[in-house]
Every structure is written in structure tokens, then in C-alpha cells.
Symmetry: C2
């Protein structure tokens, strides 16, 4: 049963917060929000700031209020891969784990709302809805990661770049209709780290998509999708499927 409460019971800090609607705070009662907000700190992180260090104990969890966070993994010899991207109002941090396996880094300026580990765990115990919300986010991230495994394992360079641009476009315009300009939140080097390519290859494939009339760029980081269906096809997600004789391997892109 839900108590009859007023908005005035919601902490002032949370009133204009996006996380309270679409984020994890959306499932909390005002009284729980009040408790959470007592231990809450808002802060901003500059581009490149390390939000979570691999191997270090996780003391605080955060909601992402604005900006994009890169989750990266690194090999001993320095090779790097972005294994996830998080946007507002995603929850940042791994529940139940003492340490994180990944490094979280701000890609651009990021605004966060952080709270201590203990507070979250306490709330999670008494609010099953919160627990479920976090579980659902984990499953969503799992689906995403597996989708990118398919991209990394089986798609060609141009398909990977098209897939990434599709991700950007869909996030801004889920309907995939408009012709407005979307801001690409990552530089070429970060896109390369995400797609398992080099900076040069990303740049070449962007150029090639532009020359094919599928996209156009106002600046190097501002994307306009000229032909949504062509972009889906270029990403390997096209509806038409002429099964190849061999089911494996990257297909060779013509022209």
C-alpha cells in the first residue's frame, strides 16, 4: 500500500532530477528518497576523470544525471576496449561486488549523484522494487554486451561504424525518422576503442558512409542521418537476408 503523500515530501534535491523518474529512484517512496538524499552528494566530473578504478573497493554508487560514461577494460600490455557506454539516468556501479573489474571514465563532462554503498544496500533490502530495477538494468546491460559481442566478432569495419552511429541516432531519436543533427558523444579514438578498430579505420569508414550519401556531418562530431534504412542495412541489420554459403566470417564489403 502506498501512503498518500505530496510532492512536498520529496527532497528538494530530487524534485528536478531525471533519475527520480526514469532512473532507479523512480521506485522509491518519498520517505526512502528522503533517507537516501541525506547521504547524497552531487558532483561533476571532467572529461577523462576516473569514476571507478578496477580492483579498488567500491565505496559509492552513482546515478548519472548528465553526460556519457565509458566502461573500459585493458590488457596488461595496454590494449584497451570499451565494454559499455552509460547514459543518464543509468545507475553506475556493480552491486554485491567488492571491487569492479572495469574502469569507468567520463567521456565529456558528467554530472553525478552519489551515495554510500551501505545506504543502497539497506534500501535494497527493504525495497524489493529497487532490487528488481537494478536487476533489470543488469539484464539490459547484458543484452547490450552480447549484442556488441556479435558486432565485434562478426561485423566488418564499416558495419561496426554504422552500428555505432545507429546507436547514437536511436538514443536521440528512437523513432528513427527525424533528420536532425545528433551529437556524437565520443571522439574517433574512443569510437575505435569501442568497436575494436583503429582511429584511422573509423575515420575512413565514416568518410565512406558520408560519400555513400547515408550520413552527413556538420562537424566531425555532429551526425545527420540522411537515410535511416540504408544505415540499418550498412550496420548489417537489414531486413533482406541472402544467406551466404558460409555462415561465418566477415563478409567482404563491396566498393
Amino acid at each position: 500500500m502506498r501512503l498518500d503523500v505530496h510532492n512536498s515530501d520529496v527532497p528538494r534535491l530530487c524534485l528536478s532530477c531525471e533519475a527520480r523518474h526514469r532512473g532507479v529512484c523512480g521506485v522509491l517512496e518519498p520517505s526512502q528518497l528522503v533517507r537516501l538524499s541525506r547521504h547524497t552528494v552531487r558532483h561533476e566530473a571532467a572529461p577523462g576523470a576516473e569514476l571507478l578504478a578496477p580492483g579498488e573497493p567500491v565505496r559509492r554508487y552513482s546515478n548519472i544525471l548528465a553526460g556519457v560514461v565509458k566502461l573500459t577494460m585493458t590488457l596488461p600490455d595496454g590494449r584497451q576496449q570499451i565494454v559499455g557506454l552509460q547514459f543518464a539516468p543509468d545507475f553506475l556501479g556493480r552491486p554485491f561486488a567488492q571491487t569492479s573489474e572495469v574502469r569507468a571514465e567520463a567521456a565529456g563532462f558528467v554530472r553525478l549523484c552519489s551515495f554510500p554503498r551501505e545506504t543502497l544496500e539497506e534500501l535494497m533490502r527493504e525495497a524489493p522494487a529497487l532490487h528488481q530495477r537494478l536487476h533489470e538494468q543488469a539484464l539490459r546491460e547484458l543484452d547490450d554486451a552480447r549484442g556488441w559481442m556479435l558486432t565485434l566478432g562478426r561485423k566488418s569495419a564499416s558495419e561496426r561504424v554504422a552500428s555505432f552511429l545507429l546507436l547514437v541516432a536511436r538514443r536521440a531519436d528512437p523513432e528513427e525518422q527525424g533528420e536532425s543533427a545528433f551529437d556524437i558523444p565520443l571522439g574517433r579514438a574512443d569510437i575505435a576503442d569501442f568497436l575494436g578498430l583503429t582511429e584511422e579505420t573509423v575515420s575512413r569508414q565514416v568518410t565512406s558512409l558520408r560519400k555513400a550519401g547515408i550520413i552527413s556531418l556538420e562537424t566531425s562530431r555532429s551526425l545527420v542521418v540522411a537515410d535511416h534504412e540504408a544505415l540499418r542495412n550498412a550496420a548489417g541489420e537489414g531486413s533482406q537476408g541472402a544467406p551466404s554459403s558460409r555462415r561465418s566470417g566477415r563478409t567482404q564489403s563491396r566498393s
Copy 2:
């Protein structure tokens, strides 16, 4: 508070079941086990059998009692990628989702213990420990998937094959000491689908690891690790890290 119960309260079906200890059933009370077991069916699946079809409604969940299950994703043109491997006593199926994005397929003979969706959801509501167990498995799978993203995006063919053999060896012998023979649960074609390579390339790299004295094979599917540290190094997880001038890209393997 836990009731004072005896083993005799545990359903006969569950008595010798591995899932009751290390699997999700381990957190259930005997009374809940009884309830679950009333709706439970044990069955076996032949190699290649489809356990979960992408896009179809999920009616049943399962515990894997024995065998290996491949989770695969496929592009419209037929290119395929294994996005996860599951072993006993893993839980199979995606909670909260109406349909599955991935296809689950038996790799070899598999024994399963299945129960209806409703029963699991009912138990999950009243047993927070079960909910948490499933949440933890999802997070574990997420960590795995991200680790393979790093492998698929940044490792060379020989490093990928070494990484896979390391997975097999560690699963059988977490200490990584013994010199016993491990059964490789996948054929070369499946390994290729897992590593984003072709069958031929996998075969070549296995040969190369064998010629380097790092592993030896009794049959093509029986692995002996001759030099554990060398295998870790070959997988790119070596401790020594001479940072390359460029941080990205697959390093060229010498020799």
C-alpha cells in the same frame, strides 16, 4: 527464521541434484523446493537441440544439470556468434523478459530440470534470496560478456584461442596446476563461432600452440596444458607488460 527441517522434507528428485547446492535451488527452503518440484520436469537434449528460440515467448526456465549450452546470436545474413556458454549448474533463461534475444542450443548432450515461468516468478516474489541469486548470476554473466568483448575487440587469433583453452582448463581445474587432460566441450567450428574466427584459423592456432609446446592434444578434443604460465601469456593475460607505442589494435604475433 528457518524451520527445523530434515533432509527427508527435500523432494526425492532434488536429493542428488547439483543445482540444489551450487545452483539457484540452494537458496530455497525445503517447503519451497517441494512446491517447485511439483511443477518440475527433467529431460535430456541431444546435441544441436534448440533450448530457447529468439523472439519466442519464454514459457519455461531451466537448471542445467549436465552438459554445455551455447547462447548464440545471428545476423540477418546468417553470420553467427556465440555470446555465452553455460555449464551446470547454471540457470537458463532470462527473467522478466517476454522473449529471449538469444538462441540457446545444446552443445553435446544436456540434462535439464525445467519449470514454468509462473512458478519461478511466484517463488522470486516471496524469496528475496532467490531473487538475489539470479541477480548475481546476471552480473556474473555480464562480467563474462565484457571480458569476451575485450577478447573479440583487441586480441589476435592466437590469443583468442589461448584464452578459450584457458577457460576450459580453468573450469576443470581452477588451481591451474594439474597436467590432466580436459575435455574440450566444443568442436572447432563452435570455437570459431565463439571467438569470431573461422574454423581454419582456430585449427591453425591450436597447431601453433601445440608446436610451441604450450599445450598438447591426445585427441582433437582432449586438452593437456603443458605450461600454464605460457598459456596465460599466450592469452594476453601475462603479468609482464611491455607497453606498446600504440595502445590500440591487435599486436602482431611474432613467429
